[in-house]
Symmetry: D3
Subunit: 131 residues, 6 copies
């Protein structure tokens, strides 16, 4: 009861189709992935999220591969199953090798460990790190 | 009551001094930061954590700057105040510019947003992303 | 090995049946959902959790729909699959429309994004917000 | 080292001033709070975040008070100190009474408890809640 | 604006005093700690939370020290500063030694690391662990 | 696309087999569980993680059952499905009874609830708990 259904291009209103078209053109893919088909139930959120993602993930001071690996690390840390699957694929497409994947996981794991050690030992921030 | 006190080099047993010496030599710093001084209360955890960090953060398929930015992104996502401060400093030292910092934050923010949209809309993993 | 099995009404001891009866009467449902059948393995936790939920979710300064939407937002933020499914259904039953669902998701997503931006930029609390 | 400094209106470039002006006009406040002054270090993120917040928090199917209480509940659940302080103030301004605050906290607390009980008991989703 | 103020015994209504008296008698302390003084702003939540805590933390199949260490581990994992401080003190009072504290931290850290490795490698549950 | 495949003993390089052999000997099991077969894709992370786990989970100031219950509580709190399944089994093997399981869940649930109440009420640390 109440679960949201995906909206396919053929059934989508014009505002949704426009976003789908832009995703497909920007990413050079034939169809959008399930995330967008579900967000399409709320066209305003679909458009806002896509425009934000497009802006944030565009090449800038960081290259797309680095951005995708950061996205993956955060998704792994948060335990979002869908996001781990989709951003592993996206990072692979952007050039992440098996060795890089292993290192992203290793860093993400260590950060999660030492975050808790710092919490538990109640470590005060060193003056050198303060504002 | 019960809060752990930092252990300074002068007061540290030999096993702790050996780790402190290795941290200082590896990182080319005059003193270790508060995190290590607190972990020194448990020499086994101090040694194990340092050896793991040294191995994980060494240059490999990913360069040290990329690793530090991933570490920072995870720490920000987890809300660990000490870790955000120390890894912002570490990433800066490894070459993170103001523009890079801004992009790490932007990607981390977006990942946290879309992780929840994927959760809430209960998006099934696309067959293309499946194992 | 070790996974907990649900306990059905027919097999339940009197203490569990009493809670099941109260849930069914309070919610006007024919059977309790899986959450309660699993908690029934620990009758004290079953009773305590139900009594707390009944008290917390009763109409008060906030109406039941608002409470269910807050419950859903927290469950989405935490990524609890069962809870997202059950509280989406509960919120729908309490009157959540498609448009409301979309807005709950949008607010939950934005809060998760800006929570991390505030963490990462280490924003100090404005004096006006302090105690 | 490396902590971001807030940017005041007087020192801000035109693109930042334009956002600050819109925040002040929309919210009818004399100055923006620290969150925006810190984001101003990255004008693109400042603009994008403000435009998203403005769109998401505008009255719609849900009223501003309900949205602020959801924002607060998520921030409390995530443990973001700055966000808890700022969104408690925002919700108060939108009409949250002491009794409402107490109920938001009670629901947020219970949701966090039952989310973990559902995780730990590995409760399968009821067919009635499935898509 | 809006931050909750602690309520001292002398200023508390009878319903709050009754809970404070029970906490002091149960724990053999002269005064309740800040957590309870803040919850006192919502007497129903104060009472419900105390009764639940009293029931859950009483000796049972697990002794009080084990329960306090689990409470501490969860609080460290969640990064709740107040809870880390108060439950470190409570665990110390229940008999946690320095060596035990170190091991609680070590286990908590490792669990947080391997939780993310399991997420990131998308490890399927072994049939032997399935229900 | 991109999902990691498990590596079986028969197909594993010598460095991986050595770790698998040590896991099997230490735990007195015929085969390693899926977690290790997936980590085997990164032999350095496999070895480092196993050596850390072996050291951290060995009997010390805390017995193995207590450590497994803490591991389980953290995994439940984080919502790691694989880890909940595997550490429930491990704790059962170490002697966790049904009653103990129920109490671990109850404490984990309460800790998650009161962590958020402490966050939301912005409770300051009592001087008695300060360093």
């Amino acid at each position: 009861m109440g679960a949201v259904k995906p909206i396919e291009y053929a059934d989508a209103p014009a505002a949704v189709r426009a976003v789908f078209d832009d995703i497909k053109a920007t990413r050079k893919v034939d169809d959008v992935n399930n995330f967008w088909k579900h967000l399409a139930n709320d066209p305003a959120t679909l458009r806002r999220t896509w425009e934000s993602i497009k802006e944030v993930m565009a090449p800038g001071a960081l290259d797309p591969l680095t951005k995708e690996m950061i996205y993956l690390a955060v998704s792994v840390s948060n335990g979002c199953g869908y996001c781990i699957a989709s951003h592993t694929a996206a990072a692979r497409k952007a050039g992440m090798t098996d060795a890089m994947f292993g290192e992203v996981m290793a860093v993400t794991g260590m950060a999660n460990e030492t975050n808790r050690l710092a919490n538990g030992y109640r470590v005060p921030v060193d003056p050198a790190f303060e504002r």
